[in-house]
């Protein structure tokens, strides 16, 4: 299986820049996701790879072969679309066979291959059904089988799960990953759903405004966000504006409080930074009576609870701002609203990102509303 290389892809629709010199190399057999909000250019990138759009500048290579100017129907890319894309006039089997028929394979050979693939996607029993007789999840399975039937060099998936119910979505994403691993096919997956991207990918590419924000394994993207955007977009993140303190053991200062952060050791004292802290790494303990917390803990009052199943998200108002803390749901029962609690964390957990001087509104809901407002652009 060859790999896939995108070199300096640039694409503009009228005034709007959809992609800004995008470079990306997908290794042979690798599963890479393009992740970002609507309008970040992820779908445009995929469509350029598929040959449905033409980049204004840049090259696309499959293995060593430059396919930039090859028309879409000669690219040998399997594609699964966001909306249901089965041919309504053909049965599931005929849909899967369609690509083979174009390749002039013999009927028996085609039928064998189609049933093999429908088997692979768990739909051996649906060969004779028409698309309208299949559920959404089943249609996408058939679409996957159709894309795989032509033994594509690269598998492209454009939000294949976004039209499906949550439960089916989780199940199907696992199967897509299983099949991709089994066949060892190179895959490029587009999604706006970060959990989806993190759970199925070898590497995740976070895009914003047509540019790459960060490329890394799911654990890197989640654990070590490199930009303010990634920190805000991936998972839930407490973002605290702070200043690096001159402190050999590593610490920052926020709203007059000293916060121990190992990562601060390598930063210049006085630097304006954003301290990033995942809700699940904060330890929450109720304070008995009116004792104030000793040592390096933050104290605060519980503002609200949100039950999320395994964990309950507790919002605590502290001198350095509201902090989200994830507490196992069984323990959360003992923390009532208004209660005084202490918050501690391993000084090795927080990450720091340098803030440009004068940066504002990078923290808090305003930053998220800004994303929402980007949509109509």
């Amino acid at each position: 299986m060859p790999g896939l290389k995108l070199q300096g892809l640039h694409k503009q629709f009228g005034e709007v820049v959809a992609l800004r010199t995008l470079d990306l190399a997908v290794e042979s057999g690798e599963f890479v996701s393009l992740l970002g909000p609507s309008g970040c250019g992820k779908t445009t990138a995929l469509r350029i790879v598929a040959g449905f759009e033409h980049a204004d500048e840049g090259r696309i290579l499959v293995g060593d072969k430059d396919i930039t100017d090859v028309p879409a129907n000669r690219r040998d890319m399997g594609m699964v679309f966001q909306s249901y894309s089965l041919f309504p006039n053909m049965t599931a089997q005929q849909n899967v066979e369609f690509g083979l028929r174009i390749r002039k394979q013999r009927s028996a050979e085609r039928a064998r291959r189609a049933s093999e693939l429908l088997d692979l996607v768990g739909l051996a029993s649906a060969t004779g059904r028409y698309p309208h007789q299949l559920s959404g999840g089943q249609q996408q399975r058939v679409a996957l089988a159709r894309a795989l039937a032509i033994e594509p060099s690269v598998l492209l998936l454009d939000e294949p799960l976004s039209a499906l119910d949550a439960k089916v979505r989780v199940q199907l994403r696992e199967e897509i990953r299983r099949i991709q691993t089994q066949l060892g096919i190179t895959a490029l997956y587009v999604t706006h759903d970060q959990e989806e991207a993190l759970s199925v990918s070898d590497r995740v590419v976070v895009l914003s405004h047509g540019q790459i924000e960060q490329v890394g394994t799911p654990a890197e993207i989640y654990g070590e966000p490199q930009t303010v955007f990634v920190a805000a977009f991936i998972g839930t993140m407490n973002r605290i504006e702070a200043t690096v303190r001159a402190d050999p053991s590593g610490a920052v200062e926020s709203a007059g409080h000293r916060l121990p952060v190992h990562a601060a050791r390598n930063w210049t004292s006085g630097l304006h930074v954003l301290m990033l802290l995942r809700p699940e790494v904060i330890d929450l303990r109720p304070l008995q009576g009116d004792t104030s917390a000793g040592g390096e803990a933050m104290t605060g009052n519980v503002k609200s609870h949100t039950f999320l199943g395994p964990v309950t998200r507790v919002q605590v108002s502290t001198p350095i701002g509201d902090l989200m803390v994830d507490v196992p749901s069984v323990e959360a029962l003992s923390v009532s609203i208004g209660a005084r609690v202490s918050l501690t964390w391993d000084p090795a957990s927080p990450r720091l990102i340098e803030l440009p001087a004068g940066a504002e509104n990078v923290v808090g809901p305003a930053a998220i509303i800004a994303e929402d407002e980007l949509q109509p652009a």
């Binding site: 598929a50 129907n73 040998d76 679309f81 249901y84 309504p88 690509g99 159709r146 894309a147 492209l156």
Partner: protein, 269 residues
């Protein structure tokens, strides 16, 4: 407390529409059977069916209709497909062009006048066309353009044209394969409706044909209508019956597809 599926007053509209066609139909049929003196009989029908002009004019119109269908589909299908696929911005322009032919009276007159302006046509080879009834196909293709366009446009809106095209491309299909194996089969009812509308319009077109002095079916009807009252009524009934078969067939085919689509729509609830 189960409620009926169809509200009574919508059935009223349906009834009204049907009555509106049935009463004139009945009156016409009744009149066509009159033989004078309050007697009834098939004299009028016999007279029409024995008239050689009936058969020749009907066949001429039918041939022109079928040729118009073929020419207009060959021109319009790729055009509308391309506009939908690649130039959605042009759709409004197309909508506009598609209603131009409704300004028929001046334009058809103009085309009729083209005959007077033969000298303008410098390409000599075209003269055979100008003297044969086939010259009618060109204006007819224009006249039916709105119907063809609207049928195709609605049909293509109903399926996800772009996704189907791209899905076919991604597994290696060429443009011809996509058109004939993916797009056309899913436009069946739109194509049928375009063809059907074209046939009825061409069969009924009078102005251009009569100005160009060709004896088409509608010109024949008009002639009979002006000349003989009872046979005209009989002719009405005959031509109504002839088109009816075509109507029903399209309705039945359309309904088959419709029930499939409804099944699909049902899943969205």
């Amino acid at each position: 407390m189960r409620r009926p599926r169809i509200a009574p007053w919508s059935a009223f509209w349906l009834l009204l529409a049907v009555l509106y066609f049935l009463i004139p139909m009945y009156a016409t049929a009744e009149f066509s059977l009159q033989t004078g003196n309050g007697q009834y009989g098939f004299d009028a029908y016999r007279e029409i069916l024995n008239d050689p002009s009936f058969k020749s004019s009907f066949l001429l119109s039918l041939r022109l209709a079928v040729e118009t269908v073929l020419v207009s589909l060959i021109i319009m299908v790729p055009t509308v497909y391309w506009v939908h696929l690649k130039l959605p911005r042009l759709r409004r322009v197309m909508d506009f062009i598609a209603i131009l032919p409704f300004m028929v009276p001046p334009i058809t007159l103009a085309i009729g006048l083209l005959r007077e302006l033969h000298p303008l046509v410098t390409v000599r080879q075209l003269t055979w066309l100008l003297s044969s009834p086939q010259q009618l196909i060109l204006p007819y293709v224009i006249i039916v353009m709105p119907f063809t366009y609207r049928s195709l446009d609605a049909g293509m809106r109903a399926i996800d044209l772009r996704i189907l095209t791209e899905a076919a491309q991604s597994v290696g299909a060429s443009w011809l394969t996509i058109l004939f194996r993916v797009i056309l089969p899913n436009l069946r009812s739109a194509l049928l409706s375009a063809a059907f509308l074209t046939i009825t319009v061409v069969m009924g077109e009078f102005t251009i044909a009569s100005l160009n002095q060709f004896q088409t079916f509608s010109v024949y009807i008009q002639y009979i209508g002006a000349a003989k009252a009872n046979p005209a009524a009989a002719l009405s009934i005959i031509s109504f019956t002839l088109t009816w078969g075509l109507m029903l067939s399209i309705l039945i085919i359309g309904r088959q597809r419709g029930s499939q689509q409804q099944a699909q729509i049902g899943t969205t609830r």
